[in-house]
């Protein structure tokens, strides 16, 4: 891991508020997201989105042309642009023609990507973000740390400080008051602006329509009040048919903010009547930097299915520790790592891909069914530039698959780590894991593993028995989580069985990839042993998939299932 990234990680971990705020969010999110999806067949829904978006990704060029034709026929100006310079020049050109001094912006990730605000300000044009979170981040001269909640890393006190400076008045850190200040300040900008810049969440090729989702109502104001509207849209937002809106509209608010639907959804097809009468001037920029190349890559093409809900951030155990300023560039988290590598180049992402622990939580919640862990592994492989798997990693596999050796080594390691441990983290892994652990730091191993603690937890005799597969993270690193799970189950009158001879189940998935690595057979044998042990139980709790770090939420979920 590059040393600057390592320092950023350390600073983020020492931040007094960041990880606590993100952890609370992540825990709330799991529950509220589940509620939002009640009565919706998530698997069928994401299958449909993935299919429609995958097809669009294969036909991007054709759909872009169809979109351009349809929107042009409706009176919009459509430009297909390839580089940040082209986009900035185009927008500056429009601004100059209209003599615009002020541009109001609704949230657009593509505009972050091309650093539009800086370009406008250099040209003497004031640029105002109008999404509350984006405005806060703009005033703080930072970049968004989350794609949906840009200012999640800041507190109300931080915001009061920023707003006080902006309005020249000492403001209390009272949220409704701060929101009113934003309304007043930005309303005046909306009314005065010469141009409104927005992004778009969906672009429909057959009709030339753009779909915009907001809760605040700033996109419809930005598209309505100024005489000129410029929509800056990444080509990956294209879908073929108007009907394709519905599945995305069903998933995006549920996955993004656990809402059934956002307060406002606007579907724009060509310029509507301008607020001052007459037809509005509407420009649509289809921006394709890096995207067309992604579309040609059979693996990375998948990332174009993303609908930018940011749920991969919300469930990511690493994101919640370090936030988006560390884990990401313009785009953050798991999808951010992939997009950064594809759009800015692998060199730019270097390091980010190493933050992923391959737990798979993001893949499970992705409404576009993107196999993010696999794509990040591919970034890692390409970053390393080594197609062949080194011998040391293969040796590590055979150790992990051999339970007895593996656990003996882990026990030894908990003693041997002492000189290597660095607070709660291990600086280096023991010798035999060096290849896996290179560039990473792992949590320190617990002194007494869960397997040795379990016999100390007297089990009630019960008709209801649950087999607990702790996984090695709980077993060896976070045994207290395993104890908590057992206590919760016992309290519900359930007897817990801890089948012996269980071995690692997923923590080292990062290593298990290429076909033909010869592990399939042994993994099969492992499954057979465990299956035999399960017959006496009502339910088995599978290992907490990367879940050691999700301790509390996982325990609650388990209690619910039990």
């Amino acid at each position: 891991m590059p040393s600057d990234l390592r320092q950023q990680v350390r600073r983020a971990l020492e931040h007094p508020h960041l990880s606590a705020a993100l952890t609370r969010f992540s825990e709330d999110y799991r529950l509220s997201r589940a509620r939002a999806y009640e009565g919706v067949d998530f698997e069928a829904l994401r299958e449909r989105i993935a299919a429609r978006k995958a097809e669009a990704a294969q036909r991007l060029d054709e759909l872009a042309a169809r979109f351009a034709a349809a929107a042009t026929a409706r009176g919009a100006h459509v430009a297909r642009l390839h580089t940040p310079e082209e986009v900035r020049d185009y927008i500056l050109g429009v601004a100059r023609r209209h003599g615009a001094r002020l541009v109001v912006k609704s949230k657009s990730m593509a505009s972050e990507e091309i650093h539009l605000n800086a370009a406008l300000e250099q040209a003497g044009i004031e640029a105002k973000e109008t999404d509350l979170g984006e405005w806060i981040v703009q005033l703080a001269r930072q970049r968004p740390s989350h794609m949906v909640l840009p200012a999640i890393h800041l507190t109300r006190d931080d915001v009061a400080e920023l707003f006080s400076r902006e309005v020249g008045e000492r403001l209390q850190a009272e949220i409704p008051r701060l929101v009113r200040v934003a309304r007043e300040q930005l309303r005046e900008k909306f009314l005065r602006a010469g141009i409104g810049v927005t992004g778009a969440n969906i672009a429909v090729a057959e009709t030339g329509s753009l779909v915009l989702f907001t809760n605040e109502g700033n996109a419809r104001l930005a598209a309505t009040l100024p005489p000129v509207h410029i929509a800056l849209v990444g080509v990956e937002k294209l879908v073929e048919r108007f009907d394709d809106i519905v599945p995305i509209l069903t998933a995006l608010p549920r996955s993004a903010t656990a809402q059934q639907i956002t307060s406002y959804v606007s579907i724009l097809t060509g310029p509507a009547e301008a607020a001052g009468g007459g037809a509005k001037e509407m420009h649509i920029i289809l921006y394709d930097r890096g995207r067309m190349e992604m579309a040609r890559d059979p693996l990375f093409r998948q990332a174009l299915q993303c609908i930018r809900c940011a749920s991969c951030l919300n469930v990511c155990p690493v994101y919640r520790l370090v936030g988006g300023h560390v884990f990401g560039k313009v785009y953050t988290g798991a999808i951010g790592t992939v997009l950064t590598a594809c759009i800015d180049g692998i060199a730019e992402a270097r390091g980010l891909e190493q933050l992923c622990i391959e737990c798979g939580a993001c893949r499970d919640v992705c409404p576009a069914k993107i196999d993010l862990p696999e794509l990040i592994l591919e970034v890692r492989r390409r970053a390393a530039g080594a197609a062949a798997r080194p011998l040391a990693a293969r040796a590590a596999f055979s150790v992990v698959s051999n339970r007895r050796v593996f656990h003996a080594l882990l026990r030894a390691a908990s003693l041997a780590q002492k000189p290597l441990a660095d607070g709660p983290f291990l600086r280096h892994l023991p010798l035999f894991f060096t290849e896996a652990g290179k560039n990473r730091r792992l949590p320190a191993l617990a002194e007494t593993p869960f397997r040795d603690r379990f016999p100390q937890l007297p089990q009630p005799r019960s008709e209801r028995r649950v087999a607990f597969f702790a996984g090695c993270l709980i077993d060896f690193v976070y045994p207290e989580i395993g104890e908590a799970v057992v206590r919760i189950l016992n309290r519900a009158g359930i007897e817990v069985v801890f089948p012996e001879k269980q071995t690692c189940c997923g923590a080292f998935r990062a290593l298990q990839r290429p076909a033909g690595s010869g592990r399939g057979q042994r993994a099969g044998q492992r499954g057979g042993v465990l299956r035999r042990r399960l017959r006496s139980c009502d339910l088995s709790l599978p290992h907490l998939h990367g879940g050691a770090l999700h301790g509390r939420a996982a325990a609650v979920a388990l209690a619910g299932r039990a």
């Binding site: 409704p176 929101v179 429909v204 509507a272």
Partner: protein
């Protein structure tokens, strides 16, 4: 554009619409999204409901105004009658009149029961100005124009004809500071939906 309307029954004693399942579902989900829903058994009753909300909000006093964008219910009443029934209501909707108004009244084409969503062809700027600038938004919806969900409601519109389709669910909201839900950031802080039975009740 509209399909065949469903007939609704009335609660004779209360004078309100009794539970049509679709209306009930719409009402519940709109309320869950933070909107207030009132029902009216006739166009006259709808105007009376508007008058009550405007009075609560102090429209008509101290120069406080409301704007009402063009729509079928508005068109069914003579402007002078409206002026009498609804003091402070302005029928000319411009950037200036909408920005200065305390309340905006607009008429929606369809509702979606599953999410409590209102849908409108808002190609005319007046519709967008009246529904997004004032802090209070009163939305009118015919009781026989409620579809099952957004997908079904969207099929009632032709994107080749509507330059701006507006979907509205609840008031304007944000959670951008410490994830605390706060209402009314850029758009209305209060959304009142008046669902009315078009019936035969209007004269004037």
């Amino acid at each position: 554009m509209p399909g065949p309307g469903r007939s609704l029954s009335y609660g004779v004693e209360s004078g309100t619409l009794v539970s049509d399942p679709m209306l009930e579902k719409f009402r519940q989900n709109a309320a869950a999204a933070g909107a207030e829903v009132v029902t009216a058994r006739s166009p006259d009753a709808a105007v009376a409901a508007i008058a009550r909300v405007l009075k609560q909000e102090g429209v008509g006093e101290d120069g406080r105004t409301a704007v009402w964008a063009d729509g079928p219910l508005r068109a069914a009443f003579h402007p002078e009658i409206l002026a009498q029934m609804l003091p402070g209501v302005v029928l000319e909707v411009t950037r200036e009149s909408a920005a200065a108004a305390h309340a905006g009244i607009t008429e929606f084409d369809w509702g979606a029961a599953a999410t409590g969503t209102l849908l409108q062809d808002a190609s005319a700027a007046a519709q967008r100005l009246a529904s997004s600038l004032p802090p209070v938004h009163i939305a009118l919806l015919r009781a026989d124009r409620i579809a099952e969900d957004i997908g079904a409601a969207l099929r009632r519109f032709d994107p080749a004809r509507a330059a701006f389709l507006a979907l509205v669910t609840g008031p304007s909201r944000t959670a951008d500071i410490e994830r605390v839900l706060t209402i009314g950031v850029h758009g209305p802080r209060r959304l009142v939906i008046v669902v009315y039975e078009p019936g035969t009740g209007h004269a004037l």
